[in-house]
């Protein structure tokens, strides 16, 4: 006997073995249809008795196993049912003959047999035969079950007779020696008359009767017989049979203790009909008297048939612990015989099932361990698979999941062993899948995303490799790709660099034929394989939604700002809200994206692979708004550090958009990576509002753009910068062109400018805004007067000054405008002013006219070029580099008071100092425009202006200023200033002194005296001219008080008696009124009168 039945369990000992086989050609389908119906009759209550018969059906049974039928009667084929097709009476004899041949195979042990003929109709079927049943077809055979029941009853009759026959053997009769096939030769020539031999015969027979009792449903009787048999056989050291007797005892006890059975489903089925609980069923089992053994009833010379005499002694049934002990003992006896390997193996399996019910896993594992080592013979590959599978099942049964997985995997490997001509890759794959729980491996990558991987990486990786390989050989590349992706994704930390290369290489090989998808794959068994997104290729560490560039950032109109203020909380700031972490990810970001504009999301990624990683088709996954993702392809260097990647897309509609994740294609595998499933990703929120479309302006300038950015403190974000380098005083025109490159019309445009204050104390003059589209910028830098350096070189000529300004273009249009949004485009201006010419010193000299004066400018050329300087109406002055020259300009005095002085709106708040500065500045401008000092560098063809602003001292200014009281002296009605007025000797000359009051107050009255004198041109002024000049009337004039803007005049006359050049000195009388006023206000022109001969 060499074919073990791994499915055996202890209660199989009470069954009768019936073989059901087809004869001739019967379709498998039909055969199994009938077989199924036959096997449903597995349990029969015997007529007129409480006993129950159990039948075990087999459609295959090796005849050599049948030879062990005396050893354990449940191994004996006692019934044979053959099924055959027969369609014509002609074939009948032949068919019947085949039935007989079939019977011969198990002939020695058969109690009875049946032949079921299908298809035959006619007179043959009329014959009443017990052993043959005719059915017209496979559908029309209701009586099959009934037939089987009859058949079993007939089996029972034979069984019962045999039992009684054996049990009632007279003690005097010679008891035959039962033996197993391999023993037969051992007993040749043995003394059959010895006590030893007799005892052996008795023991074996007792054991046999025990088996028959068990089969016949007499459990308690069987126990008694087994006990007696054990005693007998132990005394003669008949180990093999002692083992069998012990096992019989165990089986009977197990049946007694565990009426639910130990064999799983098949066992349970037996008691379907019984609603009694196990205990109760046990108590009320048919024939379950409290049968107890009486050692005295055991006679050595015979078997007492009356077991009832033994009632009242020790309980025959073994306790659950004893069952295991006896099984151990039995197995240890079996193990002495090499030929009983199958018996031993099966006993182990049976014991394990019992132990599983008892929940004694440790003991069970010992039995299994033993079973592993039982070496039957050279097993076929199929048998090996079967053996490993059953070991796996049994380990599972006792809760040893790892061990179970181990053997299942071994079984899977066996399916595709190289010695197998047609490897069963499908079976292998299926078995491998079943091992997954044992290796605590789930094929859902989500189970791995939390924290670091904790498991048996080495064995898990091995298993995954095997799954990949098996699925590929199975012809399912999609599965291979999925498993390989899973391996790469979840085991990345455990792969060596070389393995990473190998795995990705093979993944690429697979995916070029079958790209990896995000779809669920359905496994052959029914379960599905979830997709494996490559969240580690590359690893994403940060996801940040980027605001639009400053120039495209939408801003809300001020008037609507109030609506934005959150009304959720009465507090302006609350730390409780600020620290609400749960909402962090879905927190709305406080900037907006604009419909139709390209929006960016920045990801910080890194490549964990030891080689360059090519990520293709990387784009954003969003929800909430129609979003046109513009995928990118990137290539990350090996083991890169954090690497910023910007993913872009265009929102097509408005509303709240949520960035859920990104998609990639890596190694031909498409992945949708959701941020929620990514561990350790930092994000500052993923939801942002998309507002309606706005126009988009593009700025271009006549000057080249510069990378130079404005001071960070400027506050505004400047999109475009223009940088220009100018000489102090140089003017530069800048043309700015704005183009609407968006799809929405521009409806409003507002231009503002702002100067940035610089620390250098530089001020800019002239920043007028001529038109929205044409802007003239005239920066002018003033430097403080540089003290004339001793060495001739002005201090720090290389010192450049910078000044910065911002032009803001606020524009809106389209649907965004309707929603109250606008955009702000800023142009930064950066001007570097190099010094050109300096006025190192400004002084004045009075001119001949009281209304004019000479301005002396010491001009220093601080450039490295030769330049020319010119003032209005003056000649050009050529200055070499670093040269200083004086320039004299005659200028009309200024009446500064005519300027709008401290206009009302600011005059009241500004402090006097500021007011004074502003006044100074205004004066400077006035002077500059009068002077119009220009410089020109011929070599560079650059020109500019120079300003005296800030250089003018109070003294100079006073000199340059027209006094508020304007005195005009008219000689003969002609205004007389520097020119000599002509008159005739003897004619009275009319002299008029006129005062115009430009001051804001009333002045006067004044008294003034005219004193004529002659200048001898040698420093001597002769005032003693009483003889030469005579006054007509008084020499003293009186002027009344003059109101502001008023005018007053006084008249007198002079009579020159001689010819000559006379001067008139007009001086004021010292009085209180004139003392209040500054002396410079009383600056009268000196009058030069030339008296000529009367006759001329």
């Amino acid at each position: 006997m060499s074919v073990p039945d791994y499915m055996q369990c202890a209660e199989d000992h009470q069954t009768l073995l019936v073989v059901v086989q087809p004869v001739g050609i019967v379709s498998e389908e039909n055969f199994f249809r009938i077989y199924k119906r036959i096997s449903s009759v597995s349990q029969i209550s015997v007529r007129d008795s409480q006993r129950v018969l159990y039948i075990r059906y087999r459609h295959h049974y090796p005849p050599e196993n049948n030879e062990w039928g005396d050893f354990q009667t449940h191994r004996k084929v006692v019934g044979l049912i053959t099924i055959t097709d027969c369609f014509s009476a002609k074939d009948w004899p032949q068919t019947f003959e085949k039935f007989h041949v079939q019977k011969e195979i198990y002939g020695s042990t058969l109690y009875d047999s049946r032949l079921f003929v299908f298809g035959l109709q006619g007179e043959i079927t009329e014959q009443p035969r017990t052993d043959v049943a005719f059915y017209p077809n496979y559908e029309d055979c209701e009586a099959v079950e009934k037939r089987i029941e009859d058949f079993i009853e007939s089996l029972f009759i034979v069984l019962e007779s045999k039992r009684l026959d054996r049990a009632t053997d007279k003690s005097g009769d010679k008891i035959p020696l039962l033996c197993v096939p391999f023993e037969k030769k051992d007993f040749v020539g043995l003394d059959t008359d010895s006590r030893h031999y007799k005892k052996r015969c008795q023991g074996r027979m007792r054991k046999h009767v025990g088996d028959l009792c068990l089969q016949a449903g007499m459990l308690q009787d069987s126990l008694v017989h087994y006990h007696m048999s054990v005693e007998l056989l132990r005394s003669v050291n008949d180990f093999l049979w002692l083992g069998a007797a012990l096992e019989g005892l165990c089986s009977a006890s197990v049946i007694c203790h565990y009426p639910g059975g130990t064999g799983g489903k098949t066992g349970a089925r037996r008691f379907q009909g019984s609603s009694l609980p196990a205990e109760a069923a046990n108590r009320h089992r048919p024939g379950a008297q409290e049968v107890l053994i009486d050692p005295g009833a055991l006679t050595t010379n015979g078997i007492n048939p009356d077991t009832s005499a033994e009632i009242g002694r020790a309980k025959n049934c073994l306790s659950p612990e004893d069952i295991i002990d006896k099984y151990k003992e039995a197995i240890s006896y079996y193990s002495k015989y090499k030929n009983a390997g199958v018996i031993e193996l099966e006993a182990c399996v049976k014991a394990v099932r019992v132990l599983a019910i008892q929940k004694r896993s440790m003991d069970a594992s010992e039995f299994l361990q033993n079973a592993v080592y039982i070496n039957l013979r050279q097993l076929s590959e199929e048998e090996k698979i079967q053996r490993y599978s059953i070991l796996s099942e049994l380990y599972e049964l006792i809760g040893f999941h790892r061990k179970s997985a181990f053997f299942k995997r071994v079984a899977a490997m066996q399916c595709v062993a190289p010695s197998i001509s047609e490897p069963g890759w499908r079976a292998c794959y299926k078995l491998l899948l079943e091992t997954l729980p044992g290796y605590s491996l789930s094929l859902d990558p989500k189970d791995f995303s939390r924290g670091t991987h904790r498991g048996w990486a080495a064995v898990q990786m091995r298993l995954l490799h095997e799954l990949v390989y098996a699925s590929r050989r199975m012809g399912n590349p999609a599965l291979s790709v999925r498993h390989l992706s899973f391996l790469l994704q979840t085991m990345l930390d455990f792969l060596s660099d070389q393995e990473k290369k190998d795995v990705t290489q093979s993944l690429e090989n697979y995916t070029c034929k079958c790209p990896g998808t995000m779809e669920l794959l359905t496994l052959p068994g029914g379960p599905t394989l979830p997709p494996v997104p490559f969240t580690k290729l590359p690893i994403v560490r940060r996801v940040k939604l980027l605001n639009l560039p400053a120039s495209l950032r939408p801003q809300k109109m001020k008037s609507l700002l109030g609506q934005n203020v959150s009304t959720k909380s009465p507090f302006i700031y609350s730390p409780i809200i600020a620290h609400n972490r749960g909402e962090e990810r879905n927190k709305k970001i406080d900037f907006q994206w604009v419909q139709g504009d390209v929006c960016e999301v920045q990801l910080m990624v890194y490549n964990p692979m030891p080689f360059e990683l090519r990520v293709e088709n990387m784009g954003l996954l969003t929800s909430g708004v129609d979003f046109e993702s513009l995928p990118a392809a990137l290539s990350l260097p090996a083991e890169s550090g954090l690497y910023p990647v910007t993913l872009v897309g265009v929102p097509q509609t408005t509303g709240m958009i949520t960035v859920n994740g990104y998609h990639t294609t890596v190694f031909g595998v498409f992945s949708d990576c959701l941020l929620d499933n990514l561990p350790g990703v930092k994000t500052s929120g993923s939801t942002v509002e998309v507002i309606p479309a706005l126009p988009r302006l593009q700025i271009s300038t006549s000057l080249p753009r510069s990378a130079h950015s404005l001071q960070p403190s400027s506050g505004d974000e400047i999109s475009t910068n223009v940088s220009v380098q100018l000489y102090n005083g140089e003017a530069q025109q800048l043309v700015i062109q704005l183009e609407n490159i968006g799809t929405e019309p521009l409806e409003t445009l507002e231009v503002t400018s702002r100067l940035l204050t610089t620390k250098d104390g530089i001020s800019v003059s002239g920043f007028p805004l001529c038109s929205p589209f044409r802007q003239v910028v005239r920066p002018r830098v003033e430097s403080k007067p540089v003290n004339a350096p001793e060495g001739g070189k002005p201090g720090d000529p290389s010192h450049m000054k910078t000044l910065e300004a911002i032009l803001n273009f606020k524009y809106s249009g389209g649907p965004g405008h309707a929603e109250g949004y606008y955009r702000n485009l800023s142009l930064g201006l950066h001007v570097e002013a190099e010094p050109s010419v300096f006025f190192t010193r400004v002084t004045t000299l009075p001119a001949t006219s009281t209304r004019q004066c000479h301005l002396l400018l010491d001009i220093f050329n601080s450039t490295e070029h030769e330049l020319t300087v010119s003032a209005r109406g003056n000649e050009e002055l050529i200055l070499h580099a670093g040269e200083c020259q004086r320039m004299a300009i005659q200028v009309d005095k200024f009446s500064f008071e005519s300027f709008p002085e401290s206009p009302g709106e600011k005059g009241q708040l500004a402090n006097p100092k500021q007011l004074e500065e502003e006044r100074q500045e205004a004066r400077g401008l006035e002077i500059d425009s009068k002077l119009d000092v220009h410089w020109r560098i011929p070599s560079l063809k650059r020109t500019g202006e120079a300003s005296v602003e800030g250089l003018l001292s109070q003294l100079v200014l006073e000199h340059l200023q027209l006094a508020p009281l304007q005195w005009d002296v008219l000689v003969d009605g002609q205004p007389c200033d520097c020119e000599a007025a002509a008159c005739r000797v003897g004619d009275p000359v009319r002299l008029e002194v006129r005062l115009t009051n430009q001051s804001p107050r009333s002045v006067g009255p004044f008294a003034l005296t005219v004193a004529p004198f002659q200048d001898h041109q040698n420093g001597v002024h002769n005032y003693d001219l009483h003889d030469a000049v005579s006054f007509v009337g008084s020499s003293t004039f009186y002027l009344d008080a003059v109101q502001p803007s008023g005018q007053s005049a006084c008249l007198g006359a002079l009579l020159f008696l001689y010819t000559g050049d006379f001067f008139l000195h007009i001086h004021f009388h010292q009085d209180s009124a004139s003392k209040e006023l500054p002396p410079s206000w009383f600056c009268l022109p000196s009058v030069h009168v030339r008296a000529l001969d009367a006759q001329a």
Binding site: S361, M362, Q369, V410, A458, R462, Y469, S496
Partner: protein
Amino acid sequence: MAVCVAVIAKENYPLYIRSAPTENELKFHYMVHTSLDVVDEKISAMGKALVDQRELYLGLLYPTEDYKVYGYVTNSKVKFVMVVDSSNTALRDNEIRSMFRKLHNSYTDVMCNPFYNPGDRIQSSGSDAAEPGFPVITTWIPTCEKRMGGRPGHGPCPLGFPRMPRPLTAW
């Protein structure tokens, strides 16, 4: 001496596993992995005993043809598994116990290291496997590295069972 030593976390994943014949490390991985069934069973059986009376040494977990697998469990349910060559009959139970005790001391040292994150893989500083003194690990320097130092290759199946053609290289 032992051919394989493993430290297994409370949650039954390996913290440290190292075997002496490095060429067939996977075999020992399987062996230690399956031994956990027995360890679990023994621990659950032990559960009823009072904590202070509990014996840490679990004894022989199971024998295989060539090896014997011994187990030890700390009070914090960290398991130590040791595989010894069954031909080495000189190895008594007492020696096994003392080896486990040394291992336990080493493990305690690791736990005392403030730079060790409980649950991370343990790395031994000694090039222990090849040394004759194995498995008495002198100094254990844990690292936060996720990878083990020498990782198992694709050796043949344990117990001489048929093995799969070597993956990757075969295709």
